[in-house]
């Protein structure tokens, strides 16, 4: 396999995955005690942490909206997250853009109208970035928001896909992301199948789009299964704990 080939003649990718295979992904609910809700998520070597505070009093008066909550998102990438050290400024355009994407993804899903004049803060920290920081951030945010008990219409699951020659690759790692092939990040509401975010910044033949969409929706459903499993497990634990507490109180 030459240096520039992303897929071997046997149909395997650089890290040994098949074209339509996700990286190993694991999630944990509530790793942080200070936040109202938090989650840690790992897609291969990409590690994302999300924390939710709120609903709380808006920090700036201008942010208070009389009919719904203001959603404030901060996206941060650790200086040691990538191969080369990068100290990013808080006002780095790339970070602001990422935060904006996450905001747009979640704004229609979170039922902000239940909390007028308040603010919900969502802080995202990418600890290690081996490709797919945006979709890892969205998946981690879904879990953190659910953990915080913010009412939502559905989960949001996201994944990246890329069109490479005749094949479509799912869940790109850093090497695959850094090529000039068109890649897109898709966020899906798995229950209704609605697309919440679609981001693509390079040229792609229009005929290929529907294939890529099908692949990404299939990928999102797989991720959804993992997230759902973690949420249900956590929910049952909480129930268990609550029933133990009430038993102690009855004694």
């Amino acid at each position: 396999m030459s240096r520039n080939e992303l897929i071997s003649p046997e149909g395997l990718r650089l890290d040994g995955r098949r074209a339509n295979e996700l990286r190993r992904h694991t999630a944990k609910l509530g790793p942080l005690s200070q936040a109202d809700g938090s989650a840690f998520l790992q897609h291969g070597h990409t590690k994302a942490l999300a924390a939710v505070y709120g609903p709380r009093e808006p920090r700036h008066r201008a942010h208070a909206m009389h009919d719904r909550a203001y959603l404030n998102i901060e996206f941060n990438i650790a200086p040691f997250a990538t191969g080369e050290r990068k100290k990013r400024n808080k006002s780095d355009k790339r970070l602001l853009e990422m935060a904006h994407f996450v905001k747009q993804t979640f704004e229609p899903v979170i039922m902000t109208r239940l909390y007028p004049r308040s603010q919900i803060d969502l802080y995202i920290q990418i600890l290690q970035d081996d490709g797919g920081a945006l979709h890892a951030a969205i998946n981690a945010s879904t879990l953190a928001l659910i953990h915080a008990g913010i009412p939502m219409k559905d989960y949001v699951c996201a994944v990246s896909v890329c069109c490479y020659k005749d094949a479509s690759l799912l869940d790109l790692n850093r090497m695959e992301e850094n090529t000039e092939h068109a890649d897109l990040t898709v966020a899906v509401l798995p229950k209704s199948g609605d697309i919440s975010l679609l981001q693509m910044e390079s040229r792609l033949h229009a005929d290929k789009l529907s294939d890529l969409m099908d692949l990404s929706i299939a990928g999102c459903r797989q991720i959804w299964k993992t997230l759902d499993g973690v949420v249900r497990e956590n929910g049952e634990e909480e129930q268990q704990k609550a029933s133990e507490v009430s038993m102690v109180l009855e004694k």
Binding site: A51, R59, T82, R85, K90, Y123
Partner: protein
């Protein structure tokens, strides 16, 4: 509205009258989390948590979680100190780790912490060990410490994380090519950095009554009138002492803190002992 009002839950007393809440525990000789006055919170170190860093460690001190990642770069030394490399610690206490910290520019607390870590690092690393070619190239180590969850004891946790990340650090064998004027690092022959001495920091909170609490948590901070941070090296030598806060305290009390810090040092040493370069 009904005329019966539910009594305040214990959780509410803790929030509304933190001093009364904590005082009632202290008077009985215990702390709200069940510790004795001299007990530190459970501490754990996880080496190599960040694989994209050249050296990293995740440290938990009770509810406080910090992660330190060290990145190494090749830099040109200062003309006045041609053999000295750079070590730059930077602490980030973002709004993620506690509702106490606001978004925006680094807080004063974070800047003070970065400076304290820098001071302590002088006893840990010999800057001359970071030299690749005098006057041409040296290693610049950036130690970024992110606080993920804040519950007091930031200096202790950050210093432990930096120490552990330095032990975990692997640098490629660097050679300076005179013709190209560039440095080549061979990642296969990686090696650690020589560490002069490991420095361990222990913080104590002094109450108004003159009693001393080891490793005060964030909630206990409301009672603490001044703090004493003691840093000792693995040879048992004193590296730094910071006493902060308005209330003066006895020399005897500081001496007691020194003794406790020495005891704590032995525990931290065994905690860090497992092989760092996994």
């Amino acid at each position: 509205m009904s005329s019966t009002i539910p009594p305040l839950p214990a959780e509410a007393i803790k929030k509304l009258l933190p001093e009364t809440y904590h005082q009632s525990f202290i008077q009985k000789g215990v702390r709200p989390d069940g510790r004795g006055f001299q007990d530190f919170r459970p501490t754990a170190v996880h080496y190599g948590a960040i694989t994209s860093a050249d050296g990293s460690a995740l440290v938990r001190l009770g509810g406080t979680t910090v992660v330190c990642g060290i990145k190494a770069e090749v830099a040109v030394p200062e003309p006045t100190q041609p053999t000295q490399g750079y070590f730059t610690p930077n602490v980030e206490l973002g709004p993620m780790c506690s509702a106490r910290f606001k978004p925006g520019a680094p807080s004063e607390t974070a800047q003070v912490l970065s400076q304290q870590l820098n001071t302590l690092s002088l006893g840990v690393l010999d800057r001359d060990d970071l030299c690749i070619e005098p006057g041409q190239a040296v290693w610049a180590l950036y130690a970024d410490v992110l606080c993920l969850n804040y519950d007091g004891g930031a200096l202790d946790a950050c210093q432990l994380a930096v120490t552990a990340a330095l032990r975990n650090l692997r640098l490629g064998k660097a050679t300076f090519n005179e013709e190209e004027g560039a440095v080549r690092a061979n990642a296969r022959e990686s090696q650690g950095v020589p560490i002069k001495a490991q420095v361990y920091t222990s913080t104590f909170g002094v109450l108004e009554s003159g009693q001393c609490l080891a490793d005060p948590s964030e909630a206990e901070g409301s009672l603490v009138r001044s703090t004493v941070s003691v840093s000792v090296s693995d040879q048992g030598r004193l590296v730094a002492v910071w006493k902060q806060g308005g209330q003066g305290c006895d020399v005897a009390l500081i001496r007691a803190c020194l003794d406790q810090a020495q005891e704590r040092r032995a525990i931290l040493e065994s905690l860090l002992a497992p092989e760092a370069s996994s």
